[in-house]
């Protein structure tokens, strides 16, 4: 999963528009985590897991679209 994260971060540097995803991922993860727990610590742990999951999912989609670019 960390490799996925590294791929997305590396890809985001030359594509500034990808940085717009950061506040969305942070907010969505925190709000979703807060609807599953009551105390702050488990909320943060759940949010971190969600954020990694979402980022990994985005990395997979990114990879698929990137590969599709070779399909000419």
């Amino acid at each position: 999963m960390n490799e996925n994260l590294a791929i997305v971060i590396a890809a985001a540097i030359p594509i500034p528009k990808l940085w717009y995803a950061v506040p969305l991922i942070v907010s969505i993860s925190l709000v979703y985590g807060a609807t599953r727990h009551e105390h702050l610590k488990p909320i943060l742990i759940h949010s971190l897991r969600s954020a990694i999951w979402v980022t990994g999912f985005m990395a997979i989609i990114f990879g698929l679209i990137w590969l599709a670019g070779f399909w000419n």
Binding site: L24, S27, V31
Partner: protein, 222 residues
Amino acid sequence: MTEVVYNQEDGDPIVIDLKQPGKAALLAWLWPGAGHFYQQRFAKGFLFMICILSIFFFGLGLGRGRVVYASSKPGDFRWQFACQAGIGLPVAPAVLQAIKTSAGGDPLFVMCERFPPPANYPQGPGSDLAFHRITDENGNGYEGPTLKDGFMAAPQGPIFQNDRDVLGMWHYDYKHNFDLGTLFTVVAGLLNLLAVYDAYVGPAIVTKEQLEAAKRKKNSGS
């Protein structure tokens, strides 16, 4: 008073006093986090308020105050507003503007004025300036009727499918920021619905009983 208890596998059970859940849900819808403040769940209240309002206002800023508006005009049915309305009071100006302009009046909080289309648009003289923003450079003392961009107001003037109109100019002027602003505000509205749910029934915590039931199911299946 409504109290919910979540038995934990380890540690003390979590007890949450939801007070009057209906009232809390209404407050949570009106202002993100307000329902949780009413229930004295301050940490979660702040978390919801900061997360949801920050992305809402960031999106509104990206779209220069134009991405949140209510419209059911042919060609511009703004379905996104149904999602944005999940955030409650912050979209109230859009409702006010819709009421104010429904009979054809000018919007409140005018941000800029634009040239209206000429009678024989898009072929006739003056069509090249139609829907463009009036500035000192292109205005040349123009004093005729104008189309006004209002804060959280629907685009004025006719909406065309294949020719330039105010909505098209917004997309042209703000590029990807218009769509991103719409996305941010839509997501903020939808996230607040989760906060409303949390204020109404409490968090969806997995309890000790549910964990045990899941384990039993897993063991019986394997």
